[in-house]
Subunit: 202 residues, 2 copies
Amino acid sequence: MEEWDEIEVPRNVKDIFIEMKNTAELMVDLAYSSILFNEEEMAEEVLELEEYLDLLNYHLMVHAVLAARSPKEAEQITSILHMAHAIDDMSNAAADLAKMVLEGVELHPVITEAILGSEEIIGKIYVSADSILVGKTLEELDLATNTGVWIVAVRRGKRWIFDPDGDFKIFPGDILIGRGTNTSIDYLKEIARGNIKVMGNE
Amino acid sequence: MEEWDEIEVPRNVKDIFIEMKNTAELMVDLAYSSILFNEEEMAEEVLELEEYLDLLNYHLMVHAVLAARSPKEAEQITSILHMAHAIDDMSNAAADLAKMVLEGVELHPVITEAILGSEEIIGKIYVSADSILVGKTLEELDLATNTGVWIVAVRRGKRWIFDPDGDFKIFPGDILIGRGTNTSIDYLKEIARGNIKVMGNE
């Protein structure tokens, strides 16, 4: 478990709030991925993110309550706390999903089928050495726009990188965990295999 | 309010489950959209979807409980109910967000900033008459793969179409509500304005 008190928390309400929303959404993606691939380490990451989100929520409340100066402001600030609460609920639901993996519950095959049969699915994309992805950063590639796939994690050797940054550079042999439609995941798989050499709106 | 007892519910556990997951995800997108654009009709749709999801959840439980034949099956089926519960929690959080719109709560500007400043944002895309989108169906366009934007709703004149199907054909003047990264929303806006005439991996 990491020490969150060493972690830098954004300093203003807006940035804390954005961080909360992004974190909750990442947690949902990682939770489904951890179930699909039965990945305990990924499930643990979801629970760590839940703690981080609780910390963010606490800071948000402190900042928000301090900021109230008038009844109108108080009502507006209540709306922030209300939305933060909803985001926290979503993150708790994601954590509940991750706990299923950690508790080693015998999962029904329908669960995998549902995650793979939804409008947005989770896919595992193997990067071969002759793919145009190799050596480029996620920012350069902008896979979200060019292929419709959102990268939530990368497996490199025995190591997981969760929520990789824009300056993360893809290596041959990386396994990308992405969220997207069936078509967009298939498209990225073809690129990652080296079968498609020009991507998206290039 | 529509009558859900006239609505067709999928007939097996897998399809009910997929429908639940898709519905909850749509609810989250629509809830954020309703807040961002202060759209009561959209918020009402979220609450209607919540009722639909409750109905799906009920049918899922009946089917699942009926299916249990052995202790191992019972454990597996419990995992389905567990996941359905988490999905239901997410949908309730989305409904809580939508209620903020319907209750006319004075929203803090930071809320809009957070929705527009996240990694995935919601955007409003106006379709001009000379856009390549016009006259094509969503299935033909496959915007999710080709632009990275997920269409959650369309405004046509005074009417909303929520969660449009693949055979939905885009008209000039349509306003698309999409979820995607900033870059992908901007890209689709340029296509919708008619400034970009070739899209994605064509």
